[in-house]
């Protein structure tokens, strides 16, 4: 049976936190609900567990790739065509350090951005159950549940003073 998504909209963070509390008390796991806001609230405002992610791995991966490319460019290209210019050594360490520094950081930056997009679960082709008023200040609590629990979840969200509850495809 297909899952359904139930969205409750709230005016205040307190009401949204109550809705999250109701869902938790009803035994709904924290992977099955999400809180959507137009404002970055401090972590834990709604009683949700801390966000777990592996974003910190991405810059290191990117840095390693950037460094490898830098060494290929800084040393590899010079060895591939060993032309002595101005009596300077073919493999000169200071320029390799400069190019490595830049490309290592570039790799780290690019991979951090990839990591942010990946860890933010983006791109997301469809918004699912959503309300444009969320970017105007309302707080949305959306819960994904089997069809038979939709009415129960609707009641839980409504009980926390939701101004509106919507149901759609999960």
């Amino acid at each position: 049976m297909a899952n359904q998504a139930v969205l409750g909209l709230y005016r205040t963070p307190e009401a949204a936190a109550d809705a999250v509390g109701n869902l938790q008390q009803a035994g709904i796991g924290h992977n099955d609900y999400e809180i959507m806001t137009g404002v970055p609230y401090p972590e834990g405002t709604f009683g949700e567990p801390p966000v777990r992610h592996k974003l910190y791995v991405f810059p290191f991966m990117g840095a390693m790739i950037g460094l490898t490319l830098a060494i290929l460019e800084g040393a590899g290209t010079q060895l591939a065509y060993p032309l002595v210019t101005g009596g300077k050594p073919i493999l000169s360490v200071p320029p390799i350090i400069i190019i490595s520094y830049e490309l290592t950081l570039l790799g780290a930056i690019v991979f951090t951005v990839i990591g942010i997009i990946f860890e933010s679960r983006l791109p997301r082709p469809a918004l699912g159950v959503y309300d444009t008023r969320i970017t105007e200040g309302l707080i949305g609590v959306v819960c994904t549940c089997p069809e038979e629990r939709v009415e129960e979840v609707r009641g839980l969200l409504q009980r926390a003073a939701a101004i509106e509850v919507k149901v759609g495809q999960g």
């Binding site: 959507m36 830049e102 950081l105």
Partner: protein, 457 residues
């Protein structure tokens, strides 16, 4: 005294997206004017390509002139952006909120303009791609031992990094625009917002991203202007350039002109878009205090550079100092430079009334950048004019009308690009403006109520 007032999320959305959704008439007028100047610049570059570098005022021994002065200037301006944004983000300074996006946008467009300058200077613009390691068929690669190769690496890294930094911070704002538009514009913002819904996870990652990217961009920022300074100081052929102090001197000079540039842009944004609730006196005041410290540090480095040249009494250094101080037009340029970059604005910033005055801050920050442009001109040209020890190989330089037109066009180009950006995206991050409201509080102490901002530990 803080002059803030509470705004709802709807009001924040309306006022900060008005550049996109309800563009003021003045925007079109300014864009047309700036676009006209840019077109003049394009024509000048076209003539330069068609008729050759003889149209410029170059003459041996001065073969680096206006274009490279302008490159250094724009790279300097670009330093404001990410430095300001990154340091203030890491320090969680509240006054960063209206300034970060503008600073980052100024960085990207100033940097892109700076990148154009060496290409125009090449003459054969179509060969600019030779700098990139592209040719697998011939096996010939750029010489990585040349500063001319380090520079594009540094500028490209900074440009790509800054652009990505802007894009990541822009995603939540793109979602706001997606929710407030219809038709094809809505489809474009939907695609750009990538399905952002503002979940707790997404906001948390935004905050962490801001910190990680700031930490990664700060070392790039320091390296870029250091590497630009090495274009000059690593050369042994021009004695007055060959000094170890150039890297920190260039970096602090860049911060000086860059922070001034950000203040100029903020004042213009406030005037053009009517963002009186977002760009307030306390923001300009805080930035002016920062600028005051930076200006003092820059002046210290300038004096070091100036005095070291005099102190060791080397002939090649002395003739350059002599040009600066005693020969027209350099002595006039030197006086204007010192007055505008330091002597006039810095003492004025001691006064609170000046720091909190938008017209005066606009005026003084423009002065700083006039001075800082002249500083780069003074650093580059006189050294070249006197680069040889014998007087018969000395030369003079005066810019041609083509160079002046192209340089003027670069200022219009940056303004045009910022205006176009403002037409498509908010110049103040909406999420940041709303977060400031969420974290605001008022504390009652005795008989006073003090406005405060909470900070997450």
């Amino acid at each position: 005294m803080q002059d803030r007032r509470t705004l709802t999320d709807i009001q924040v959305n309306e006022t900060l997206t008005n550049t996109v959704l309800k563009t003021p008439l003045l925007w079109y007028v300014i864009l047309a004017f700036m676009g006209g100047i840019v077109m003049l610049g394009v024509v000048a570059v076209g003539l330069l390509v068609n008729m050759g570098q003889g149209l410029n005022g170059y003459n041996r021994p001065v073969m680096w002139a206006f274009f490279l002065t302008n490159m250094v200037f724009w790279i300097g301006i670009s330093h404001a952006g990410v430095m300001l944004s990154a340091i203030l983000r890491l320090a969680q300074a509240e006054f960063r909120r209206p300034a970060t996006r503008a600073a980052e946008v100024l960085t990207v467009f100033a940097l892109a303009t700076a990148g154009l300058m060496p290409i125009v200077h090449l003459g054969r613009l179509w060969r600019a791609y030779w700098i990139f390691p592209y040719d697998f068929s011939r096996g010939i690669w750029p010489d990585v031992r040349s500063q001319a190769v380090w520079d594009p690496h540094a500028i490209s890294t900074y440009l790509i990094g800054s652009s990505l930094f802007i894009f990541v911070a822009l995603i939540p704002d793109l979602a706001v625009l997606r929710d407030r538009t219809t038709g094809i514009v809505h489809s474009i913002y939907t695609m750009l917002a990538m399905g952002w819904r503002g979940t707790v996870r997404q906001w948390r990652l935004q905050a962490i991203a801001g910190i990680i990217l700031s930490a990664l961009l700060l070392p790039v920022f320091v390296s870029v202007h250091s590497i630009v300074s090495w274009d000059f100081s690593m050369l042994v052929g021009v004695p007055s350039w060959h000094t170890t102090i150039f890297a920190p001197y260039f970096v602090i000079g860049a911060v000086h002109s860059g922070v001034a540039g950000v203040i100029t842009v903020l004042v213009l944004m406030r005037w053009l878009f009517g963002w009186h609730d977002y760009i307030r006196r306390e923001h300009i005041d805080s930035l002016a205090r920062l600028l005051f410290v930076v200006a003092l540090a820059w002046f210290f480095f300038f004096m070091l550079e100036f005095m070291f040249g005099l102190y060791h009494q080397e002939g090649t250094e002395m003739v350059v100092r002599e040009l600066w101080l005693f020969h027209a037009p350099w002595n006039a340029i030197f006086v204007i430079f010192i007055l505008t970059a330091f002597v006039i604005p810095v003492p004025l910033w001691l006064f609170r009334s000046v720091r909190r005055s938008f017209p005066l801050m606009f005026f003084t920050t423009i002065l700083v950048n006039v001075g800082m442009w002249l500083e780069r001109f003074l650093l580059i040209i006189p050294g070249l004019e006197r680069k040889h020890p014998f007087t018969f190989s000395w030369g003079e330089y005066a810019p041609s009308i083509f160079e002046i037109t192209i340089i003027t066009a670069t200022f219009a180009l940056v303004a045009t690009m910022i205006l176009l950006f403002a037409r498509a995206f908010p110049l103040i991050p909406l999420g940041d403006a709303k977060e400031a409201r969420v974290l605001r509080d008022e504390i009652r102490i005795g008989r006073r109520t003090v406005q405060a901002v909470l900070r997450e530990e």
